[in-house]
């Protein structure tokens, strides 16, 4: 008895320490990014940094606005493609497909998330960019191309998280609905889908986070022009590509400006997480003994 108590405590402390350690690491990274980025905000001016439209480090111009727009455009476009696809796919997998199809689909989608982003990027550069150029003109490097590549990359994230949340809807709901004479589709549409909505929103936000954070693939297909795009076929530079492209050369204020870019990116992702948490809490449902 005494001994099992000891090991119990030991495990508890161990878990606590590892949890604290990961929080500690995140705080160190955050602190470092902010400290390194701060001079850029101070020397260049926060407003000018955020809303300036020229990015030209050689001339001391560090306006980030076009890249914030670029990141947002690419992410939104990716979501427009990926969200309907992945929600329908996860509903199909969770409610419609039989065991065999489910057992086939799940590993396939997991494989999709295992493909390294450089492979997606290279595929985009070799296959997609020429196709877009041929059908829509321009150079082919565009929001459109980057959005398509990104949508494929975030599909597995959204699908698997919403699949789990659909599966977590208690069977009683479904049985009650079917028992009242609702059809299969009515049950999915009016009961299961609303009940799993918080989970699905989380899935979308996780996908969005991945889309904003993706770098390598976007660098290869987005054209990286630091300017405000005027159509969906304009090239853009995203916040992440900006850091990755110039990191290896940057010194002095330029170096600080890149860290400041990272701070902005961090704030954006933090906001997304806050929204996700809020939605989850607001739409949380109490069911019998537990919550969904």
């Amino acid at each position: 008895m005494e001994k099992s108590n000891m090991s119990e405590q030991f495990i508890e402390k161990g878990l606590l320490i590892t949890a604290m350690f990961s929080i500690f690491i995140i705080l160190i990274i955050l602190g470092f990014i902010i400290i390194e980025g701060l001079p850029a905000f101070q020397d260049y001016g926060f407003i000018q940094f955020l809303f300036g439209q020229t990015w030209s480090p050689n001339e001391g111009q560090y306006g980030l606005f076009s890249m914030i727009i670029g990141s947002i455009c690419v992410t939104i476009f990716a979501l427009i493609i990926a969200v309907p696809l992945s929600i329908l796919c996860s509903i199909f997998m969770a409610e419609v497909a039989n065991e065999n199809i489910k057992n086939f689909l799940k590993p396939v989608i997991q494989t999709l998330s295992g493909i390294p982003s450089v492979v997606y990027g290279f595929f985009g550069l070799i296959v997609l960019v020429p196709i877009v150029r041929f059908y829509f003109g321009g150079t082919g490097f565009s929001i459109f191309t980057a959005g398509i590549i990104l949508s494929v990359m975030i599909l597995p994230t959204i699908i698997s998280v919403s699949f789990d949340s659909l599966c977590a809807v208690p069977n009683e709901y479904k049985e009650a609905s079917l028992g009242l004479g609702a059809t299969n589709w009515q049950t999915i549409n009016k009961v299961i889908f609303p009940a799993s909505l918080p989970g699905i929103v989380t899935a979308i936000i996780l996908g969005m986070g991945r889309a904003i954070g993706e770098t390598l693939a976007v660098i290869m297909v987005a054209g990286n022009v630091p300017g405000i795009p005027n159509s969906i076929f304009s090239p853009v530079r995203t916040l992440t590509s900006n850091i990755a492209l110039e990191m290896s050369y940057a010194t002095g204020l330029h170096h600080n400006a890149l860290f400041a870019t990272a701070t902005i990116l961090f704030v954006i992702i933090l906001l997304l997480l806050v929204i996700a948490n809020y939605i989850q809490r607001k739409y949380k449902m109490d069911v019998g003994g537990g919550t969904l």
């Binding site: 030209s56 480090p57 050689n58 550069l125 070799i126 960019v129 020429p130 150029r133 150079t139 082919g140 490097f141 660098i219 290869m220 054209g223 990286n224 022009v225 630091p226 300017g227 090239p235 530079r237 990755a244 492209l245 110039e246 290896s248 050369y249 940057a250 010194t251």
Partner: protein, 271 residues
């Protein structure tokens, strides 16, 4: 059962700790840091790799950062060798010993289907600055010119701007930026209207090299200086090198080092 698990865990920890200790602690006595131009970097890495085959004890690190970083760190002594892919200004030369390890050509690459074979340096400047926007203005087929450039800070971009664009002209701001020579080549390979620039060392048949003012880029034309778009690869050392550093630089200048440089298509100037 429980015991074996513990032993495995302890063993793993020991291996990790020992690994870290081995990697970080030992052998920090005589090392050489090479810092600077990102264009020189792969060549320097190749040199070091080959050098280590005959000098297994040598501890040489190669880092990028750009030519200006190379010059600065050679001057303030933070690196043993600073590398530069552009000529030094007079005031930058103070106290530095220069070793020219060879010339690298900058090739203007267009799609293989492009009918244009030759451009003058001024035409090139007008194309990249946006004054000329259609291939038919320089004797090609009708088609809007798509410019592919490199990211700010790249050694190749830096050299191209110095040689072709001059001080006052800028590359048009809506030019597509690619992050590596290979990506530039891929972009040009697929787009019949594209134009980009790559280092001669990384040239291949995927794209067509334009001749500039009638001179096509080749080992001979770069060596005798008749092909204009070229830049030196420099090793910079503060003062005069001694000891291990001298040994390495002597080796680079020896026939063995030259062999590596030739393989990397870095061309020794003949005049």
């Amino acid at each position: 059962m429980k015991n074996t698990k513990k032993i495995v865990i302890v063993a793993i920890i020991i291996v990790i700790v020992a690994g870290i200790a081995l990697l970080s602690g030992v052998g920090s006595s005589e090392n050489i840091d090479i810092v600077g131009s990102t264009s020189v970097q792969p060549v320097a890495e190749k040199l070091v790799e080959t050098y280590k085959q005959t000098h297994p004890d040598a501890n040489i690190n190669v880092q990028g950062g750009g030519s200006s970083v190379g010059i600065k760190s050679a001057q303030d002594g933070s690196a043993d060798i600073g590398t530069s892919s552009k000529e030094l200004k007079e005031d930058e030369k103070q106290g530095l010993t220069e070793y020219n390890i060879g010339q690298d050509g900058i090739v203007i690459a267009v799609n293989n289907e492009n009918t244009v074979n030759d451009l003058s340096k001024d035409q090139l400047k007008d194309i990249f600055s946006g004054k000329i926007t259609n291939w038919n203005q320089v004797g090609g087929q009708d088609g809007e010119i798509n410019i592919i450039t490199r990211e700010e800070g790249s050694g190749t971009l830096d050299a191209f701007e110095n040689i072709v664009m001059g001080k006052d002209t800028k590359i048009r701001s809506d030019a597509v930026v690619q992050s590596s020579t290979e990506a530039v080549k891929q972009s040009v390979k697929q787009d019949s209207n594209a134009i980009g620039f790559v280092s001669f060392a990384h040239m291949s048949n995927d794209v067509k090299a334009l001749s500039i003012g009638g001179v096509s880029p080749s080992t001979d034309t770069i060596a005798d200086g008749s092909y204009e778009l070229q830049r030196p690869f420099l090793f910079l050392v503060k003062g005069t090198p001694s000891g291990d550093l001298k040994e390495f630089i002597d080796w680079v200048n020896s026939s063995e080092g030259q062999k590596v440089l030739n393989e990397e298509k870095i061309i020794k100037s003949t005049n």
